[in-house]
Structure formats: structure tokens, C-alpha cells
Amino acid sequence: MRDKTHMEQVVRWARFVKNNDISVWKQQVKPLIDSQIIMANRFYSNLIKTKEGKLKAEKLLKRKL
């Protein structure tokens, strides 16, 4: 369980989003969201290079590859 300072940060950030133009906060959020997707795809691409890795990836993604 996260402590109350985490929720305080959620509120602080929501106020920043509310009080600033969309272009300001989107520029800050985009790299975070993009990097997660890019890294996940890179990770799975590397993982499936071996037979064992492919099985692990299928388990993680809960689907056949």
C-alpha cells in the first residue's frame, strides 16, 4: 500500500494538468508513455529469439506467438 504522499502527488499533478495548456502536459507525458511501449516491444522481440524465451513470452502475454 502506497503512503498518502503518493495520492497527494496524484492530486498535485491533476491540478497541473487542469491549470496548464494541453500542449504543456502532453509533452511531459508522451515520453513516459512511449518509452513503456517501446521498451516492452523491444523486450519481447529479444525474448522470442530463443525457444525457451518464446514460451516465456507466451506465458507473460497469455497468448500464442
Partner: protein
Amino acid sequence: MDRRIEDKSILEKFVEDFVLIVEKYCKYVVVSGFVAISHGRTRGTEDIDMIIEKLSEHEFSMMHKNLLKNGFTCVQSDDVKDIYDYLKNKLSIRYVKNNTFVPEMELKFSKDLLDEYQIKTRKKLPLSGLDIYFSSIEANIAFKEELLKSEKDIEDARHLRELYSDKLNKNEISKIKKEIRRLRLK
């Protein structure tokens, strides 16, 4: 004021590409985590949840073929009949862009009055900068606080409450929570 911006995230482009096809065949609504994320919540996700009107097998097949033509793959099966069976049995199906693992679009048919209500009251939300239909902010808050309830969901709800603090219809949130208790938590 046109709040759309061109510098969109991978997740946003993925959703917009998907929606461009789906909207030709049915009414849809994007719900849950992506609603908060497209409003600036700083957290990751690998899937986007979408509810669509029920389609006949033929209608679904047309939509599916168009999705394939535009570079999407259904991860469950290549056989459209199998995929339709998932939907018919109230299960989600998942699409990814060819040769990628994430993000995934998790798609399901409307399954009860609450889903129908979310489609009926769907909205475009200018603050997201996206030209797509979302379930209302009130519905998202109600689902996250009353049904989903994980730490992440409670934080999403708090973010949306703060962001829309001067616009929220609190009676609407209470009404939807009551329906959630009646239809999903009985």
C-alpha cells in the same frame, strides 16, 4: 477552441487508427484506464478497453477484415468464426498492430444495460485532445470507485475528480454506482 495536438503518443495513435475503422461499423466507447491516461495520468498501460454495440457475425466479419487490411491482428485466432464466438460468449478479443506485442485493444460487445448506457451517453472529451468517443467521466469514476477498486483505479478516479471538479455531475456518479451494485455486484 481546437485542442487537438499533432504530437501524439504511440498509445493515442494506436487508438485513433483503430477507431477510424471501428466507427464505420458500429458505435463504440473507450472506457477505463485510457480515459485517465489520455487526461494526463502519468502511468503506463498495455491495453485499451473498448465496448462496441453487438454486431451480427457478418457485420463483425466485415469490420474484422477491414482491421486486418489496416495492419491489425487479432491475437486469439485467425478464424473469424472463432473470434466471433469469443464475443458472443461475452469474452474480450484483443488486437495488436502487426509485428508488435503491445499495445493491445481489448474489445468486447456490450453485455448489459450498463454497457448500453455507456455507449448511449458517450462523449468526446476535448481535454484529452483526441477525436474519439469515451464513456462519460462520471461513468469512469463510478466504475473505478465502485467496481474495479484497485489502487491504480482509485488514483485514476481521483485524478479525474480533480481535473473535472467544477463540471462533475455527482448525482450521475451516484446513479451509475447504484446500477453497478444492482447489475454487477449482486
